[in-house]
C-alpha cells in the first residue's frame, strides 16, 4: 500500500496561515508528534509520498525523505490518499475493502482508497486529475472522520493529545539525568526523561494532572516548574520556566518565562520572561524579553481571529492566544492582542500598547503601523544568520518559497502599508 498525503484545497489551507504558509499542514504539531506522524502510525506505514502546493515543493523536498509532487507514485500499488487535516484517531479504513472516496460537507475529497486493480479507472497523470476522476469513477460516501480546521484546533486539543500520545508511546522512567534536589509530583510512571536529557537541581516536574515527556538532550535549568501534560522536544532548553499545562515545545527551542497550553513548532526562542498562552508559534521565531500575548478577553467572550485581516472568525473558545508565523521576531516588551494573527517573516517593535490583532507577513511593524521597513532582503539576511546559529542552512529553495509567499501575501500587506502611512501622516 502506498500512503499519500495531500494538502488542499487552497481555501482550506489558508485557514492554517500563517503557520501553513511555509509547510504542509501535516507538519504541524499536536501532542508529542506531528499530524503526519500520527497518520503514518494509523496507516501502519513508515513513509508516505505527498502532494503539496507547488511553491513549497522544492523547500519541503529538502526536509523530507518522501517523494514530493511525483505523479509516478500514483501507479503500481493500492493507494491510501489522506488529507493532512484529518485527525488520525478518526481515520478508519478497510484495507481489504473496495475502492471508495470520502467527501467533506463541500463535496471535496478528504480521502480515497484506490485499489491497484482500479487505478486504470481513474486518471493518474496528475494528482488533481486523480482526485477528480476518483470522485467521478469510484463509490463516494460522506466523510464523518473529524478534521482540524484552524490552528487553534491544534492548540485547544494539545493537552489531551499529549496524554494520548504518551500513552501510545508507552515510555516511562528516567533514562537521562535528574539532579537532586528536585521533586516529581504525581506518579513517577507519568514522567519520561529520555537519554541525554538533563534536569538540573531545583526543578519541579508535576505529573499530577498529566504526563511529562522530556525528549532526548533536553536541558531543564533550575527553578523550572513543568506541569503535565507537557512535551519538550529534542535538544530544547527550559530556562527557569513556568511551564504550565498543555505545552508542546518542538526541537531546539529556548524557552523561559511563563508558557501555557501553547505549541512551539521548533527552533524558536522565547528566552526571557513574558507570557505565552494558547499560542501557536512557528519555526525560527524570536520573542524578545517580556513579549506577552493575551489569550483571554476581559469580558470572557469568545475570541475572534482575523485570518485574512478583514473578516473575524469566531474561534468558539474563550481562550486563544497568538498565531505567529515562521521567522518573525519581536522586540522587547511587545504586547499581542487576544487571538492575534502575526504573519511570517515579520519584524515587530513594541509601542507600549497592545498591537493590532492582524499583522501581515513581511511587515515591519514600527510605531504600531505596518511599514515596508528595510525590505525582505534584510529579513532574509536575518533568517540566514538565525538558521546558521543552529547549524541549519538557508537554501535557494527556501528563498524561492519565501519569494512566493511574499508575492502571495503582498495585496493585504500593501493595503496595510498604505493605511500605516496615512496614520503616520496624521500623527
Amino acid at each position: 500500500m502506498q500512503l499519500i498525503l495531500f494538502d488542499g484545497p487552497a481555501e482550506k489551507r489558508a485557514k492554517f496561515y500563517p503557520l501553513a504558509l511555509s509547510r504542509p499542514i501535516w507538519e504541524l504539531r499536536c501532542g508529542i508528534t506531528t499530524l503526519s506522524e500520527k497518520l503514518l502510525a494509523k496507516a501502519g506505514v513508515s513513509e508516505a509520498a505527498c502532494f503539496v502546493p507547488e511553491y513549497m515543493a522544492g523547500a519541503y523536498a529538502q526536509r523530507t525523505q518522501w517523494k514530493v509532487n511525483d505523479p509516478a507514485v500514483l501507479a503500481g500499488d493500492d493507494l491510501l490518499i489522506l488529507n493532512g487535516r484529518l485527525k488520525a484517531a478518526g481515520v478508519k479504513f478497510d484495507r481489504k475493502g473496495p475502492s471508495k472516496v470520502g467527501l467533506d460537507e463541500d463535496g471535496q475529497c478528504l480521502w480515497a482508497w484506490v485499489r491497484k486493480a482500479d487505478i486504470s479507472r481513474v486518471k493518474s497523470g496528475s494528482f488533481d486529475d486523480l482526485l477528480e476522476s476518483a470522485k467521478a469513477a469510484l463509490p463516494a460516501e460522506k466523510c464523518d472522520w473529524p478534521t482540524y480546521n484552524y490552528p487553534w484546533d491544534l492548540v485547544l486539543e494539545n493537552g489531551d493529545q499529549i496524554t494520548a500520545d504518551c500513552k501510545a508511546a508507552g515510555r516511562s522512567g528516567i533514562e537521562g539525568t535528574v539532579e537532586q534536589p528536585g521533586a516529581i509530583r504525581g506518579s513517577a510512571k507519568d514522567v519520561y526523561v529520555a537519554a541525554g536529557a538533563v534536569v538540573h537541581p531545583m526543578v519541579v516536574i508535576d505529573a499530577e494532572h498529566g504526563p511529562v515527556y522530556l525528549d532526548q538532550d533536553v536541558v531543564v535549568h533550575p527553578f523550572t516548574r513543568i506541569e503535565g501534560p507537557c512535551y519538550v522536544g529534542r535538544a530544547s532548553v527550559l530556562l527557569g520556566t513556568r511551564c504550565r499545562e498543555g505545552n508542546t515545545i518542538g526541537p531546539v527551542c529556548r524557552v523561559g518565562g511563563e508558557v501555557e497550553e501553547s505549541i512551539i513548532q521548533g527552533h524558536s526562542n522565547k528566552y526571557h520572561d513574558g507570557f505565552l498562552g494558547h499560542a501557536y508559534v512557528g519555526e525560527w521565531v524570536n520573542l524578545g524579553a517580556l513579549t506577552t500575548n493575551s489569550d483571554l478577553k476581559n469580558d470572557y467572550s469568545d475570541v475572534t481571529v482575523l485570518l485574512d485581516g478583514r473578516t473575524p472568525v469566531d474561534t468558539g473558545s474563550t481562550k486563544v492566544g497568538s498565531l505567529i508565523g515562521d521567522h518573525t521576531k519581536t522586540s522587547i516588551g511587545v504586547l499581542f492582542n487576544t487571538g492575534a494573527y502575526v504573519g511570517a517573516m515579520a519584524l515587530i517593535m513594541a509601542t507600549g500598547k497592545v498591537l493590532p490583532k492582524w499583522i501581515p507577513s513581511f511587515a515591519w511593524l514600527l510605531g504600531g503601523q505596518v511599514t515596508k521597513g528595510f525590505g525582505k532582503a534584510q529579513l532574509y539576511k536575518t533568517a540566514k544568520v538565525a538558521m546558521s546559529r543552529r547549524d541549519c542552512q538557508w537554501t535557494d529553495a527556501d528563498e524561492s518559497m519565501w519569494d512566493a509567499i511574499y508575492e502571495m501575501t503582498a495585496p493585504a500587506r500593501d493595503i496595510a502599508i498604505k493605511k500605516g502611512r496615512r496614520a503616520m501622516l496624521r500623527k
Binding site: 517593535m349 515591519w364 514600527l366 510605531g367 503601523q369 511599514t371 515596508k372 521597513g373 528595510f374 525590505g375 532582503a377 502599508i417 500605516g420 502611512r421 496615512r422 503616520m424 501622516l425
Partner: protein, 86 residues
C-alpha cells in the same frame, strides 16, 4: 505648488521634529540630522505618502543626504508619472 526640495524638508522636519529652516541639502540624515534607523523607515513612508509614489525600500534607504533624497524622489516621480515642481 512647493518644490520637491521644500516638500522633502517639510517632511524631514516633521519626522525628525526639527525646524525646516535648519535642514540643508548636503546634510546626512543619520550623521547630521540624527535619524535613527526607525526614523529612516518612517521618512521613506512619509515621502511616499507626500508624493503619492512607491519607492523600492533598498534603493530609498541607500540615499544618505537630503539633496540625494530630492534627486531620488524627483526621478521616481518622473518614472511613476507624478507631476512635481522641481
Amino acid at each position: 505648488m512647493a518644490t520637491v526640495s521644500e516638500r522633502v524638508k517639510t517632511v524631514t522636519a516633521r519626522v525628525l521634529a526639527m525646524d525646516p529652516g535648519q535642514i540643508k541639502p548636503e546634510q546626512n540624515f543619520a550623521a547630521d540630522l540624527g535619524a535613527e534607523s526607525i526614523q529612516s523607515v518612517e521618512l521613506v513612508a512619509m515621502f511616499e505618502e507626500e508624493f503619492g509614489i512607491e519607492m523600492d525600500e533598498d534603493a530609498a534607504l541607500s540615499v544618505q543626504t537630503v539633496g540625494g533624497a530630492v534627486e531620488f524622489i524627483t526621478r521616481v516621480c518622473k518614472e511613476q508619472g507624478v507631476d512635481v515642481e522641481e
